[in-house]
Amino acid sequence: MIALLFALFALAMGLAWYDRQTPALLVFGATMLMSVYWLKFHATSVLTIQL
């Protein structure tokens, strides 16, 4: 699902290219929120540290 984050940021840049700044900012904001979700998901998953 992290691939989707890259794709959405690329979409936001594409929207900005075509002067759709409001949709671009909305996509950016939504993707940032999803990034925070995935950070929490991976930061709180079980650790597998090799000692």
Binding site: A3, F6, F9, Q21, S35, V36, L47
Partner: protein, 193 residues
């Protein structure tokens, strides 16, 4: 000292190219040493691309405080991820992830880069002369006829798309393995053949 919109755009383009270089180096390590990026490593790349979005708006339409704010928010997200990964390995004997580059691991370098982005963006916010409108400066709305700015924008867009594809190949459509051992999508395709 006055920072004109033209100089500001060039500085933003150089910043964008610097971030592109970080992403290219990450790719070089990934493919040359076959070191698959972990989920937190990928999220740090996401942070760099998100910073690139704010820079891209500055390149396209000229510098605005709002765009610098987006860059700061994105850099704080990226720094949070890298600090989390640094803390995972900060206790001696808790191992590390990936090969060191000039004595530091990639996530440590990423943390330093995000710190520098926050510092540089805050510094750029000091100069109000760069916020003139396109009508005042006489430039067109896009890139201000700055070829370096256009090149930097397209390079970052290309790297974002490339990262989307390579991450899909590594993780597949689901949750990324932690730690990743192989390219999941390739394994699935080969398993079906």
């Amino acid at each position: 000292m006055t920072l004109t919109p033209e100089i500001s755009r060039t500085l933003n383009a150089l910043g964008m190219l610097a971030i592109c270089l970080v992403l290219v180096l990450a790719y070089a390590y990934q493919f040359a040493l076959y070191e698959l990026p972990c989920p937190l490593c990928l999220l740090q790349r996401v942070g760099f691309v998100a910073v690139g979005f704010g820079l891209g708006l500055n390149l396209l339409y000229g510098a605005r405080p709002r765009n610098y704010a987006l860059m700061l928010i994105a850099a704080i997200l990226g720094a949070s991820v890298s600090i989390r990964q640094i803390l995972l390995h900060i206790v001696p004997g808790t191992g590390h992830y990936g090969s060191p580059v000039l004595g530091l691991h990639y996530y440590t370098w990423a943390g330093i880069c995000f710190f520098l982005i926050i510092l540089g963006t805050s510094f750029m916010l000091l100069f109000e002369g760069q916020y003139k409108t396109a009508a005042e400066t006489g430039h067109g709305p896009r890139f201000g006829n700055n070829r370096l700015a256009k090149f930097a924008f397209l390079l970052m867009l290309g790297l974002a798309v490339a990262n989307a594809v390579s991450t899909l190949i590594e993780c597949g459509p689901g949750i990324c393995a932690d730690p990743p051992l192989s390219y999941d999508l390739i394994d699935k395709v080969e398993g079906d053949v």
